[in-house]
Amino acid sequence: MGETILNMIGIEKSFGSVKALDNIDFNLEQGEIHALVGTNGAGKSTLVKILSGVYTKDAGEVRIAGEPVEIATPRDAVNCGVAAVQQHPELVPNLTGYENIFLGREHYNPGLFRKVNRRALRARADELSKQFPISIDLDRKVSRLSVVERELLAILHSLTRQDIRILTLDEPTSTLTEKEQESLFSLMRALKNRGISIIYITHRLEEVFTVADRFTIFRGGRRITTMSSEQAVQSTKSLAEMMLGKALGDVYPAKKEAAALENEPGETVLKVEGLSFGESFKEVSFKACKGEILGIYGLVGSGISELSKVLFGVLRPGEGTMVFKGEKLVLKNPGKALRRGIFLIPRDRRVEGLTLERDVLFNLTLANLKKASGLGGFVKVRKTWQEGARLAEIVTLEPPNLATKAGNFSGGNQQKIVIAKGLYTEADLYIFVEPTAGVDIGARSTVYALIRELSKTSAVIVMSSDCDEVHGLADRATALYKGKQVLAPTAEVPRDQLLVAGIMGNEERKRCQV
């Protein structure tokens, strides 16, 4: 490790009224792997996007090798020697590996119809694969390569400029298996040995100790601390605590009392035992009861998204049993799940939850058209209108205009429409996936209050990658880590225990002494 290659001083960035970055100082040394860790919305991605020219900073200074630079566009960033690899790299699936590496930087034969000089490309690609430990068949088409191989290609692609000194990786491992991770890490180490500095965003603490030299913890747009991996192992302070900070209690509605949870358990609506779905999740067991909220905490790639789809009949489970209100549950499709009384409030509400070009009323009734129509299947306009107005009032839709297109509402109000659509089905089990993704702070507490209200008459499962959300909302919480259930559903789980379970699995805990 040597001199400092990058200085970011007093960086500020706001989105509307939300301060995403607050006076951030950040240093990067030459030839180090520096991990940025923090929960959702901590500001780590924003910082990297400012460095790579995707966002423009509001205030502050960036110096590369001591020289102040202005980075306004991704092109400026590349000219300054900063290469960014996206979370889902965009490659051309019908071209081969080496063609993708040199995409846009091909050798052309001279002439009227300039033809790509494949032999020269091939030679350069061979040279690259000699330099770096990659075992990819570069003659294969990208569409036939695995996720990690694409990731590696994207990194090589960004390095085809000779003068790249800083590489940023945004959560590259979220969908990789452990073995695949290793090949990514070995490439990262090889790059480090050539003097390239790497900024690496991750959710998972255990990776930090495997590959990073130093790491910086972000929380709520602030830099909490920077330390080396060795320091962290010796440190007595809990990393989880540093990532989470103080709990914001007031956003969340009051939970069911602990004594009531113990003594007057609600009727068990759904009981899941040993449920598995391919590689996505394995041996998951829990039960959801009327009157309480079950929280499931899991990051991207933990399997919560697949789990929600299995419970709603979008995907069919591999093994395990689901018992719904005392009967074995076999779901062929979401229609069947709805008829049995299960409603999913999906993660991507704009795609999965709403027909954006249609008005609120159309969306509200869509999941239960039988109820909305009478004899011969004709829609009862007046009745649905009254019912819709009642539901809009319950979910406090703003503005409460049922004739407005769903696409014209804000994220929070769109979520309220989906919840109202669920209310219209009168389900016995509501499954929320990332209930407040893209929902502004103001609407958040309303959504939480609605979820709590729902739990009084039905069973509710909340799945989220936001640890605070699960902790603040759920009566019982469990966690998935890379498809494994690492925490049995328990009441009153401490926040840091939940976080540690979700970001590094339980067994890792002692090794890192967090």
Binding site: G104, P334, G335, L344, P346, L354, T355, L356
Partner: protein, 346 residues
């Protein structure tokens, strides 16, 4: 409905449409005074029947956001089949039932291919259409059928009148009304629209998207039996090319209607088809050669889509702006770092 304070956009669009229709009628009357006679207006309505049914069938497929191009071939095939049955001495209702069954079969093939086998809708319906069109030759070696056509009462469908208007017009309006009830007033219609506009959210709302797509193709094809019937009644025979003209008319009717009324639907299709029938009739009276009519329809379709699209004019402006921008940028950025420009656009 309560809650509506402003003038509904639908009302504005309807007024605009009627104005366009009157304007066109006025122009034709100016140049060909016989346009505005009761006889000619009845003729327009009578000609509307065949194209109207074809456009109505297509509407169902367009609403689920798919395409269907097999219907001209299907009309030829089913017309020949019905002609074969009638010539063989079968009564008209029985022959028509036979035609409906054949159409349902073809529609089921289309529907299964597109929804369950997930084949490309264009390619598979082209294949089915040309199979049917070729199959039409099998009945009589390419010769027309006209035996028994008068005696079975087929021609009365075209000629008979009630209160001065042809029976076929009542049939058309009746079928349109039923289709309107289904598509716009029942829960089944909601399901069709939900499937076409966002199949993922439809699936998550418990709708069997594949089955809905299948039914759209089935309904579309079944209506083609009516198209064939109307064409046979109009021409007094069944030949192997009888349906080849309905492709352009149906697509123009549906898409012009959708442009005029902000989305495909039964009233929109009716409006679009009527407008086209008026234009074609007017050109006919002015003795414009028939080969001009397709070109005129094409122009009308494009103009209609641009003029009535909610930001069609803006988009047109943007195209020219983007062109200028691209030129500016091309000067600024040299070819060598092409990829960077791509990144920037992203």
């Amino acid at each position: 409905m309560p809650g509506l304070k402003r003038v509904s956009p639908l009302f504005i669009r309807t007024v605009a449409y009627l104005m366009v229709l009157c304007l066109i009628a006025g122009v034709f009357t100016w140049f060909a005074p016989q346009f505005m006679t009761a006889g000619n207006l009845a003729t327009i309505l009578r000609h509307l029947a065949a194209d109207g049914f074809a456009a109505l069938g297509l509407t169902f497929v367009i609403v689920v956001a798919r395409y269907e191009v097999s219907f001209p071939g299907v009309v030829c095939f089913v017309a020949m089949a019905m002609g074969f049955l009638i010539s063989g001495g079968l009564s008209l209702p029985l022959a028509f039932i036979g035609g409906v069954l054949i159409c349902a079969g073809v529609g089921a093939i289309n529907g299964i291919a597109v929804s369950y086998l997930k084949l490309n809708d264009m390619v598979s319906t082209i294949a089915v259409g040309s199979l049917a069109g070729g199959g039409a030759f099998l009945f009589n070696g390419g010769q027309s059928f006209f035996k028994n056509f008068v005696s079975c009462g087929l021609l009365r469908l075209n000629d008979a009148k009630f209160a001065g208007i042809n029976i076929s017009v009542y049939l058309l309006i009746g079928v349109y009304f039923v289709a309107w009830l289904i598509l716009h007033r029942s829960r089944f219609g909601r399901v069709f629209y939900a499937t076409g506009e966002n199949p993922t959210s439809a699936t998550y709302s418990g709708i069997n998207v594949r089955a809905v797509t299948f039914w759209a193709y089935l309904i579309c094809s079944v209506l083609m039996a009516l198209v064939a019937l109307m064409l046979m009644a109009e021409t007094g025979m069944a030949n192997v090319h009888i349906g080849s003209g309905c492709m352009m008319a149906a697509y123009t009717g549906v898409f012009l209607g959708a442009a005029l009324f902000g989305g495909a639907g039964v009233p929109a299709t009716f409006a679009g088809t009527l407008l086209i029938a008026v234009i074609l009739n007017g050109f006919n009276l002015l003795s414009v050669p028939y080969y001009w009519s397709d070109a005129v329809l094409g122009v009308v379709l494009v103009l209609g889509i641009v003029a009535f699209h909610k930001d069609g004019v803006n988009r047109l402006k943007n195209v020219f702006k983007a062109k200028k921008k691209a030129q500016d940028r091309a000067v600024e950025i040299s070819d060598s770092d092409n990829n960077l420009r791509l990144e920037r656009v992203k």
